[in-house]
Symmetry: C2
Subunit: 174 residues, 2 copies
DNA sequence: GGAATGCGGTTTCAGATTGCAACCATAACC
DNA sequence: GGTTATGGTTGCAATCTGAAACCGCATTCC
């Protein structure tokens, strides 16, 4: 998880989320949460991962404000895990990932589950990235730009290797 | 634990991509590739990761058909790495991740790079998931559904189930 | 009441993975 | 020939992973 760079100031808008999510299990947990899982045991059965790993991942998700641990609704001694607003913000990330998976990881004739609109029961539309004027944008239609108040350097968002030769020791979850 | 996962089978649609990507480094490499990086050294300097790890990740990306290793354009003895069609399909995943990052990982007054439309030089619109009729869909407006009467448990390359032992963890190599 | 069971974890520990550093190979330069 | 730059591989210590065992607390069963 916190495998690298605690150096948040130089982490770009892609790397910070990745740093927070930590690993793929976390995203699968979130996916399950969207699907209605709330309990430790539900996640564990659904994902089939070791309990200690699930425990660590849930702690990490809570620590990052992606999920909340709340007292069990039905009064038991247990707690439940629910997505925070921040966690629900991952909805589109998961949707994008799912669409990519559908495009490239299944044979044309291979059946797979679909994300459908509850109301119409029809599959959702494909995601599209659009410009302000509505044009659909592809990879080559966009560029990364630094905010105006930052020194030049345009196309890339490369950060010069900060001279940290060993600053990347994970600061584990806590 | 060897039970047929219930409706959580959708895990496949998300888990397969995750399995292919391998880890977050891979996604950062892909992001850099979108930004124009092509050479081993470019990726290494930009990301600051160990060479052996970069080497393994690039091999993995190539093995999964996300990038291609091609002879260097300028005739040198080296090779360059470029995104395949499949790799370019990750564009929206990265865009979604970036927007999530912008929403939750930066202080309101904190400057960060933006994804802008080349033509207008304006930031792109937010991604939206829409139903066929155009309604914008949120997490609670959608549900995962099997496409048809799937005869439960068949597709041979389904892999979430019981034995996710060490061996399957070798996402990184080969 | 008390044993058995289920749930929600933590601990243990061998083995897998990571990543720094050192090394190797080739090509271009001086 | 010697030096530097690029593109890796190898060695190795430290870290992380995960199966299984264990623990504490309620609830259920007898």
């Amino acid at each position: 998880m916190g495998k690298r760079v605690s150096h948040k100031d130089s982490l770009c808008g892609v790397a910070r989320p990745l740093d927070a999510i930590g690993d793929w299990w976390s995203l699968l947990i979130v996916r399950d949460a969207f699907d209605g899982s709330r309990r430790f045991g539900e996640f564990q059965r659904s994902l089939g991962l070791a309990k200690n790993i699930l425990s660590a991942r849930l702690r990490n998700l809570v620590a990052h404000g992606i999920m909340d641990a709340v007292p069990a609704a039905e009064g038991g001694p247990y707690q439940e895990y629910e997505l925070t607003e921040k966690g629900r913000g991952l909805f589109l990330v998961l949707a994008a990932l799912r669409q990519w998976g559908e495009d490239f990881f299944f044979e044309p004739d291979e059946s797979h589950v679909l994300l459908v609109d509850k109301k119409s029961a029809l599959p959702v539309r494909r995601l599209e990235l659009r410009a302000q004027d509505g044009r659909i944008l592809g990879p080559s239609d966009t560029v990364i730009r630094r905010p105006s108040n930052t020194p030049e350097v345009e196309t890339p968002n490369r950060q010069p290797p900060p001279a940290r030769r060993r600053a990347s020791k994970s600061r584990a979850q806590k």
